[in-house]
């Protein structure tokens, strides 16, 4: 049985169609991602799954129930990590968890036990009685995740979990989420970072303008929609336009971005050598593996982060 099952799921705000008839399933224990740029409809999809935003059209089942009818029952078994931390900054770390636990009607002794466990998990035990206000962005994020786990949810949904965090804080957070995944918690994650999607998601859908444009595991998506390697060349300002016709036949596919040229090929070094042989003198040359970013570019003609 799927934990989440969406068919022609649609969300409209007046004339704007934020989510446009999408289909997807999330299986128990998997970690499922929505990858797409800002405004792709990821947050709207998450809010419908979280049973806080009514669907406009189509059908949606969450944990086998209908969000329009069984909202409180569904939310009882969900953990939600919203894009903004939504913590009570006047309260202490532990008090934030206590209040949240009470919303789930958990008895205080149970909450007290879980606070100790969760703060340990979130690496915040030493800040237990400190106010939330002065905590760093990464700490607040981890506290928000700990709070979302207070009811031991079967399904944890995270909206842009690492947006705005520095690289180190992101890695700490990824590590924590990976542990949850290993404990068997089903995760649904939205992100506009392709590295995050590759790190965390077993399976993902790529969204653009409210629609799903591709679906699969990160690896399969890359295999299907991109080449093994990518040759990136950067030319001095004004030169790029002049040399474009000399790239013909160098690679399976060429993408021209405002600041660089991407050549899709199974052997990047070979293509780079060939470019040099043709007399091209780029300012910088990078050969790398294909990523989900390339898949997105291929499918939508645009980059993920503008």
């Amino acid at each position: 049985m799927s934990l989440v099952e969406a068919r022609s799921l649609t969300k409209k705000f007046g004339d704007l169609t934020a989510v446009d008839a999408i289909d997807f399933d999330v299986a128990p224990g998997e970690s499922f991602g929505f990858l797409g740029p800002n405004g792709a409809g990821k947050t709207s999809a998450m809010r419908m799954i979280g049973a806080v935003s009514p669907i406009t059209d189509g059908s949606l089942r969450v944990l086998g129930m209908n969000p329009a009818v069984d909202g409180p029952e569904i939310r009882m078994r969900l953990g939600v990590v919203p894009q903004d931390d939504t913590l009570d900054t006047e309260l202490s770390v532990a008090e934030n968890l206590l209040i949240y636990g009470r919303y789930f009607d958990l008895p205080r002794p149970v909450i007290r036990e879980r606070i100790t466990e969760l703060l340990d998990f979130a690496q915040l035990s030493e800040r237990r009685d400190d106010k939330v206000e002065p905590l760093s962005g990464g700490m607040k994020r981890r506290l928000t995740i700990a709070r979302a786990l207070i009811n031991q949810p079967e399904l944890l949904i995270l909206d842009e979990p690492t947006t705005g965090l520095d690289p180190q804080a992101r890695h700490v957070l990824w590590d924590r989420l990976y542990r949850l995944k290993q404990q068997g918690v089903t995760l649904i994650i939205t992100t506009h970072y392709m590295d995050e999607a590759e790190q965390l998601c077993d399976r993902l859908v790529i969204m653009d303008k409210g629609k799903i444009v591709a679906e699969g595991s990160p690896r399969r998506l890359i295999e299907e929609h991109s080449t093994r390697e990518v040759l990136e060349m950067r030319f001095p300002v004004g030169v790029q336009e002049a040399i474009l016709d000399r790239l013909d036949g160098l690679a399976k596919r060429t993408e021209v971005l405002p600041d660089r040229v991407l050549l899709y090929t199974d052997n990047g070094d070979e293509a780079a050598a060939e470019a040099t042989a043709r007399g091209l003198r780029p300012e910088s040359v990078v050969v790398r593996r294909s990523t989900l970013e390339d898949v997105f570019l291929r499918l939508t003609g645009r980059t993920l982060v503008d």
């Binding site: 705000f13 409180p72 009882m76 969900l78 919203p82 913590l87 006047e90 209040i99 919303y103 009607d105």
Partner: protein
């Protein structure tokens, strides 16, 4: 045993208050003392020496003022608790969004919030009546019933401002509400002088303000005198504001938090 979601929202407010009670408790005690001293006794001695006693139907100014001030204080408490904290929950700290991700629903959230305001109003009003008694401004123990119209008036304003704060997109509307709504009502709704002293064309306007109805009831209960209109009209009018404000708040909360 499962506790209704509304009660859990009230409990959460109480937990937050445990952290922030000091400032509000101090002003709960001090502001009635200051007002009753300055206006009731200071200004009152002038009024009582002049033609005031006749215009107030034989009452001392302190006795006339105190029940009005009680209800006006409840109005300000209720309106205040229904304004910035609501905007913070929706827009600034966004804690309402977090609450609604749990089994708690919009109606639980609104009613729980007003339930907590009722707890605060009861406390503020009981303290106020005790201070009134200390000033000799209450006729008998029965005067303590003046707490009830204070509570109703505070809730009427709190429900309405809660609905309004959830409707607004930013807090400039709240400053405007207080500057051009709450303050004039505080001054001209029978708190400091009978509304019969107002120009004739303004008097009907005072009849519309919930504060006037609360003041009428409180004064009647504190001093054992009769109300201008039948008491059930005053009570019904206040209840209508509470129920109406709550229903509108359901709507504005849904629009802001459940789209």
């Amino acid at each position: 045993m499962a506790i209704p979601a509304v009660a859990r929202v009230v409990e959460a407010h109480a937990l937050v208050y445990r952290r922030t009670w000091r400032g509000s408790v101090i002003s709960t005690f001090f502001s009635p003392v200051l007002y009753l001293l300055a206006m009731g006794i200071g200004l009152g001695s002038l009024v009582d020496d002049g033609a005031g006693v006749a215009n107030l139907g034989g009452l001392s100014y302190l006795a006339f003022l105190a029940p009005g001030l009680l209800v006006a204080t409840a109005m300000q408490t209720g309106a205040g608790d229904g304004s910035w904290p609501v905007m913070a929950g929706i827009k600034w700290t966004k804690t309402y969004h977090a609450t609604l991700a749990t089994p708690v629903g919009v109606r639980d959230l609104v009613i729980g919030h007003l339930g907590w305001v009722a707890v605060r109003l009861t406390f503020v009003s009981v303290v106020f009546v005790a201070i009134m008694a200390a000033f000799g401004a209450v006729e008998s123990w029965a005067g303590a019933w003046a707490v009830v119209p204070a509570l109703l008036t505070g809730l009427a304003f709190s429900a309405a401002t809660t609905a309004y704060a959830a409707y607004l997109d930013n807090d400039t509307g709240l400053s405007t509400l207080f500057r051009f709504g709450i303050v004039p009502m505080f001054l001209f709704s029978g708190t400091f002088f009978p509304i019969s002293q107002l120009p004739d064309w303004l008097e009907p306007l005072a009849n519309v303000v919930p504060l006037w109805h609360g003041v009428e009831l409180a004064r009647s209960l504190a001093l054992g005198i009769s109300t201008t209109w039948p008491p059930y009209v005053h009570v019904g009018y206040l209840l209508a504001w509470i129920v109406g404000g709550t229903l509108v708040a359901f709507h504005t909360f849904n629009r802001k938090l459940r789209q």
